[in-house]
């Protein structure tokens, strides 16, 4: 700023900006201060040719617009006259710039000047107004602004002069201009979007047409603009879309004569709907382009979440479900959360979308052959199945009916006294009421209980269809792999991506499962659980095989299914016990989920009601052995289970005592077989739980105490209380992730005696020093040092000598006369 002012000295007085009466100009304190501080810069003021200025200012334009007009025409004339060799200095509109869309911009320099005075918005709005047709409100606003503007002119013109000075470097200037204009258009468009959006939000009915304009802007080539455009239109739609579905008037209705209000509303609605449609089409197109994928998906998801009742929701849903298994993490998460919220907020759309979404997902699972991201199935967990949808409504209806009856009776009594006219009026009223009710129902799409029930059944069947499809697919893929495992390679999401969420879902929705299917389900689970990698004994690593966690989950689901159906079915769960017995050995802490293991211990062992003694003993023994080899979390959950089992099985407590006589209860197998695969054949009753002895020496105090409590359990006494801790709880509490790493028992007693006064071995530590060698070394080092010193001394002396000589020479040189005199 200061620099530019100094330059003014050499420049003839420029044309003045549109005149403003002196009294209107207000100087801010800052301005005054600036001038005071920089009096040097302001010196030019004294030299201003007031006469020339007055001459120029004598013409008083009516409005600022007129002034602009005048200026522009003047300049045109001048440019025509003089050609291009000199750009006329114009303080108001410097250097018109042609933008990409062919519009002329004036006052582009404001961009730089506004940095100086910091009043950005107003100026930019002016820029818009110059190129756009002004509407009323804007014009009003503009009139206000003109005053402020005038004030700014003063500050602006130095900048403009700089521009003028730069004319020699035309090429550079052009470049700068281009850049400026690109930036400018970007800014302009951004601001326009904001403005239009604000208008729409403040008064949607009046400004509904600007929607089109906004959509136009979002067709820009600049990706940033497009994204901004999409998002701003989204914000607008989210706000202005009404809470009902728009039904466009039929032709018949259009022919009918309607009031102005209705016409206006119709126009509004149809415009809105058209714009919405266009917007959605655009989104669907853009969603397929990688650049816009995220933005478009975000828009789609937000719309589906916010206005699931509105028109075109089916299309929205389709495109959202299509992206549910997208490889893009962000997109996938967006879609999944949207679908989840659809499921959990059924009130917004009456449940219809739930059915559709589940159907669509089921179709996708089918078409992709179960190779989807697990998230896409996990969303099912958010569906809520209401058992007594019909019931409550029916009860309500009954109540109402009873009430109505009463009322009717009363009314009937009253009716007698009423006259005919009133009666007819009443009839008409009720007729109208019915009509209104019917209309309302038609509009609100609130389904009644029957419909909701139907939809729920449909949803359920789609969900279970998906689950069964996944189970069957997994089974076949395992079956295939034993024959030819190289044929198919696992997809991008792992070998059985959907199995885990599918099993989770089955466990959750077992209540809803039809009894007829349970038999099939159990068979599937049995096969899956027993698909061990060991039995195959294949040398190649088979990626298609199920992991331990997955197999444990299968067992778990089977138990949950049985339990939730109150063991109504007589299915033999023995196989699952065998599986668990063996899976305990295949468990690997890092690879497999310990939580699942703990849960299966809880569900399958702790909660099992009628236990076979032989089997229980086998599990007790194996779990105790298991506890010897694994980390504290696993050990603890195993020990908790052991304790639980022993508490409930008095006879199994024989394992705690070394019966000298040998197995009085040991049953058919006299000797314990630690490597047996079937718990019933292990003969565990013949053994003793010696593990507890080692476990009492465990470094973890909790495990150590647990082991001693177990070993202290009494055979004769029947302890009825059960420990409240579940294996899961134990696992979670003692896992390293939760570990606080603080010492468990703070009671420490350090015997603070100084350890071994090491006087005894001190002599040992003194190394043998050979005095002869030492003497020799010392002598050597002395000679070396002396040599160095001698060397140094000689050098120093030489230097001194040299210095002396130099000094002598210098003296001679300095005092030749003195010497001569001497």
């Amino acid at each position: 700023m200061g620099k530019s002012r100094r330059k003014q000295k050499t420049i003839p007085p420029p044309q003045l900006p549109p005149d403003v009466p002196e009294e209107d100009i207000e100087f801010s304190d800052e301005d005054l201060k600036f001038v005071e501080e920089n009096t040097d810069y302001a010196r030019f003021v004294t030299r201003i040719d007031t006469g020339a200025i007055n001459r120029q200012c004598s013409l008083k334009p009516k409005t600022v617009e007129d002034k602009y007009q005048e200026e522009r025409s003047k300049k045109k004339a001048q440019q025509e006259g003089k050609g291009n060799n000199e750009i006329q200095v114009d303080p108001v509109d410097v250097l018109p710039v042609k933008t990409l869309d062919g519009k002329l911009h004036y006052r582009t320099v404001l961009k730089t000047s506004k940095l100086a005075d910091g009043d950005t918005e107003e100026l930019e709005k002016d820029a818009f107004e110059d190129e756009n047709t002004l509407n009323k409100s804007q014009r009003r606003a503009k009139a206000k602004k003109s005053k402020k503007e005038a004030k700014k002119q003063e500050k602006e013109f130095p900048e403009e002069i700089v521009q003028e000075e730069e004319t020699p470097q035309a090429a550079v200037l052009a470049e700068v201009k281009e850049e400026l204009s690109a930036e400018e258009t970007f800014e302009n468009k951004k601001n326009k979007l904001a403005e239009l959006g604000m208008q729409l939000l403040s008064d949607p009915e009046a400004n509904i047409k600007s929607l089109k304009e906004m959509l136009e802007i979002s067709k820009d080539e600049n990706t940033k603009i497009v994204k901004l455009g999409l998002l701003s239109v989204l914000a607008v739609f989210k706000d202005i879309i009404p809470g009902y579905r728009i039904r466009l008037p039929t032709e018949k209705e259009l022919e009918m004569k309607v009031s102005k209000e209705v016409k206006k509303t119709r126009f509004y609605e149809s415009t809105l709907l058209k714009a919405y449609k266009a917007y959605l089409q655009k989104l669907v197109v853009l969603e397929k382009q990688s650049v816009y994928n995220q933005v478009a998906t975000r828009c789609l998801c937000t719309l589906l979440d916010a206005v699931p009742h509105f028109n075109y929701r089916d299309n929205l849903l389709i495109s959202v479900v299509r992206n549910i298994s997208s490889p893009d993490e962000v997109v996938r998460r967006l879609c999944c959360s949207t679908i989840r919220s659809l499921f959990s907020n059924e009130g917004k759309h009456g449940g219809e979308l739930t059915v559709q979404a589940v159907r669509l997902i089921a179709d996708q699972v089918k078409s992709q052959n179960c190779q989807l991201h697990p998230n896409s199935i996990e969303v099912f967990m958010s569906i809520r199945f209401d058992e007594d949808i019909g019931k409550r409504d029916r009860e309500d209806e009954n109540k109402k009916y009873r009430k109505n009856n009463k009322r009717n009776k009363q009314e009937e009594q009253n009716q007698v006294q009423e006259n005919e006219r009133k009666k007819s009026k009443r009839e008409m009223m009720s007729k109208i009421r019915d009509e209104v009710a019917a209309d309302y129902k038609g509009v609100t799409y609130e389904p009644d209980a029957m419909e909701r029930r139907k939809m729920q059944i449909e949803t359920l069947s789609a969900v279970f269809e998906t689950y069964f499809r996944i189970l069957r697919n997994t089974m076949y893929s395992i079956g295939e792999s034993t024959e030819a495992d190289t044929a198919t390679n696992p997809g991008a999401f792992g070998s059985h991506p959907l199995l885990a969420p599918c099993l989770d879902g089955l466990a959750k929705f077992t209540q809803q499962l039809d009894l007829d299917y349970i038999g099939d389900l159990m068979n599937y689970l049995k096969k899956l659980a027993s698909s061990s990698s060991v039995s195959n004994n294949s040398k190649q690593k088979n990626s298609k095989l199920l992991t331990v966690s997955e197999r444990l989950r299968c067992c778990l689901v089977a138990f949950k299914v049985m339990r939730s159906n109150l063991n109504a079915l007589n299915v033999d769960l023995q196989d699952f016990f065998v599986q668990l017995y063996n899976l305990l050995l295949e468990y690997r802490p890092g690879r497999d989920s310990g939580e699942v293991l703990a849960e299966s211990l809880k569900i399958m062992l702790c909660d099992d009601r009628h236990q076979d003694m032989q089997k229980t003993a086998a599990f007790v023994k194996r779990l105790a052995t298991f506890a010897l080899c694994f980390g504290c979390a696993e050990s603890m959950s195993a020990l908790v289970t052991v304790k639980n089992l022993l508490q409930r099985n008095v006879k199994c407590r024989n394992l705690l005592e070394n019966d000298a006589g040998g197995g009085s209860v040991s049953g058919s197998i006299a000797k314990y077989q630690p490597y047996a695969t079937d718990p019933n054949l292990s003969g565990a009753l013949a053994t003793v739980l010696w593990e507890l002895n080692l476990l009492t020496k465990h470094y973890h105090p909790a495990i150590s105490t647990m082991a001693s409590t177990i070993s202290g359990m009494n055979t004769s006494q029947n302890q009825t209380f059960l420990s409240a801790v579940t294996p899961q709880q134990a696992f979670a509490d003692y896992s390293l992730a939760k570990e606080s790493f603080e010492p468990k028992n703070e009671s420490r007693k350090l015997n603070n005696k100084l350890k071994r006064e090491s006087c005894g071995d001190e002599t040992k530590n003194v190394p043998e020093v050979d005095m002869v060698v030492l003497n020799k070394k010392l002598r050597e080092s002395f000679t070396i040092l002396r040599d160095i010193e001698e060397d140094e001394r000689v050098r120093m002396e030489k230097k001194k000598l040299l210095k002396k000589q130099i000094n002598v020479v210098k003296k001679k040189l300095k005092n030749p006369k003195y010497k001569k005199k001497n």
């Binding site: 050995l585 890092g590 080899c629 002895n693 470094y699 105090p701 003497n775």
Partner: protein
């Protein structure tokens, strides 16, 4: 100018020490404890120690000490270093085992005033010699002699600080004897000046120990030596080192917890740094050294949890060495404390490190790697797989050797044996199979033996006393074949390490 120069050098008395002067001086000091002779002797000593560094003798500008020949030079240094302490004590009337309180009381002694500057001069000159001498043996000799007079530093706290710094430097950078002597000095300091200097010594040494442990050292014995000496120092004052250890271990645990919960790269990298592992190593050794005498149970618990956490944080074949290290620590702690630390699952994981059997043979020494993480291409080599299996067997052998006569041994070995058998079924490498098979055979022998003895026992698991005494006799005579087998494996493992 010229004149002034010459005048100055004339003023400076040039005292040249000759052999005869020295020997008479020595006699005077030695026999009559003449303070006067001692003063001049120490002046000569000072000059000798500074010889070559201060040609003009700044401290005493009017006298310039010079030494005639190398013989006298050697003699004055050796004589003073050997006798000075004795003479000081004699003059002051101190016994050889006087502690620092006595030294501090000397202020009342009239002789102290005259001797104090002499002692200070001796100590400082010797420190200078240690600091500047070029030859290892001279330094070692000076250090050992200085150690005798450490008590005198009580009167000169500033010099003491310098000495600690000097010794720590020598301890870290020196080799063999020198490092050891420097450590002995530090140890004596922390013993003599227990309350004040233990902290300073410990902190300086600790910092120096951890300072450049990420840089692989040429001398691989250096780090264990430093660690051991630090442990020895810590063992001197259990009360103080206990708090230090618990703070440090808590810090380690905090870092680990952060890495476990956030899994962010920076935190995880901190765990695998040499800094972290060396620190764990230090405290493991500290606990192992002292667990028998003191109750370090809380520390032991935390460090075991930390090690378990480290082992589970880094899964996969590339972290083989770290995993092996962790299990070795656990075994070490378990062996010294007699506390049961389960390692089987950690060890057996290594059996399943996926390796391609037909990978090209790369004959590289795995032990030579300093980094915690192994380069990827190594994982394919057959050598790597062998290394895995050998480590498994070695670690299990240590574990089993500890509990081989425990009454629960058969159960302890059940799962590992099953897993090893399974490995043998799957593996295609005959050489490895044979090794594993032999191991299984020995362990099964052991199981059988314990089981047999157990069947004869008449007590129940809750009878702690009887189980403690079970098979203790057999444990003592180490003739059982499996005991010898375990020992041979352990020895072999140690042997390979030493060879390297």
């Amino acid at each position: 100018m010229q004149l002034v120069d010459e005048a100055e050098s004339d003023i400076m008395k040039r005292k040249v020490l000759s052999g005869s002067v020295l020997s008479s001086c020595c006699d005077l000091v030695d026999e009559e404890h003449s303070v006067q002779a001692l003063i001049s002797l120490l002046n000569w000593y000072r000059a000798a120690c500074h010889y070559g560094q201060e040609p003009s003798g700044i401290t005493t500008p009017d006298i310039y000490y010079d030494i005639e020949d190398s013989e006298t030079f050697a003699k004055v240094i050796v004589f003073v270093l050997q006798k000075a302490d004795h003479i000081f004590r004699n003059i002051l009337g101190l016994s050889a085992s006087s502690n620092k309180e006595k030294i501090l009381k000397l202020k009342n002694n009239p002789k102290w005033d005259s001797l104090k500057p002499l002692i200070k001069s001796f100590l400082r000159s010797t420190m200078h010699l240690v600091n500047h001498a070029a030859d290892l043996e001279i330094i070692v000799f000076a250090l050992t002699q200085l150690r005798v007079s450490i008590v005198f530093f009580a009167a000169f706290p500033d010099s003491l600080k310098k000495l600690i710094k000097l010794s720590v430097d020598l301890w870290v950078t020196g080799e063999g004897v020198l490092s050891q002597q420097a450590f002995l000095i530090l140890k004596d300091i922390s013993m003599v000046f227990n309350s004040e200097c233990f902290d300073t010594c410990f902190i300086n040494m600790y910092k120096a120990f951890l300072h450049d442990c990420d840089i692989p050292k040429a001398d691989s014995d250096q780090l264990p030596f430093l660690r051991d000496s630090l442990v020895e120092l810590c063992s001197q004052d259990m009360q103080k080192s206990y708090t230090k250890a618990s703070v440090s271990i808590a810090q380690l645990a905090k870092l680990l917890k952060m890495a476990l919960t956030t899994k962010n790269k920076e935190a995880v990298e901190k765990i695998q740094s040499g800094h972290y592992t060396n620190c764990v190593d230090l405290w493991v050794n500290f606990i192992a050294a002292n667990i028998q005498d003191c109750d370090l149970q809380p520390l032991l618990y935390t460090i075991v949890q930390v090690i378990n956490g480290v082992a589970t944080l880094f899964i996969g074949p590339r972290y083989l060495l770290l995993r092996v290290k962790c299990i070795q620590w656990l075994n070490h702690i378990s062996r010294t404390s007699g506390i049961f630390v389960p390692i089987a699952s950690l060890v057996l994981d290594m059996l399943e490190y996926k390796t391609t059997n037909e990978g090209e043979k790369q004959e590289k020494k795995l032990e030579a790697v300093s980094a915690v993480k192994l380069p990827k291409n190594w994982l394919k080599s057959q050598n790597f797989q062998e290394q895995c299996i050998f480590s498994v067997i070695e670690l299990l052998a240590v574990h089993f050797a500890q509990w081989s006569f425990h009454i629960s041994f058969p159960e302890l070995a059940t799962i590992p044996v099953m897993r090893l058998k399974k490995f043998n079924e799957r593996s295609t490498m005959e050489g490895l199979k044979r090794v594993v098979k032999r191991f299984i055979e020995q362990v099964e022998l052991n199981i059988e033996f314990v089981q047999m003895k157990r069947d004869e026992a008449a007590f129940s698991p809750n009878d702690q006393q009887s189980t403690e005494t079970f098979l203790q006799l057999e444990k003592r005579n180490k003739t059982a074949p499996y005991t010898q087998y375990y020992q041979s494996i352990i020895d072999k493992a140690l042997g390979t390490k030493e060879k390297k």
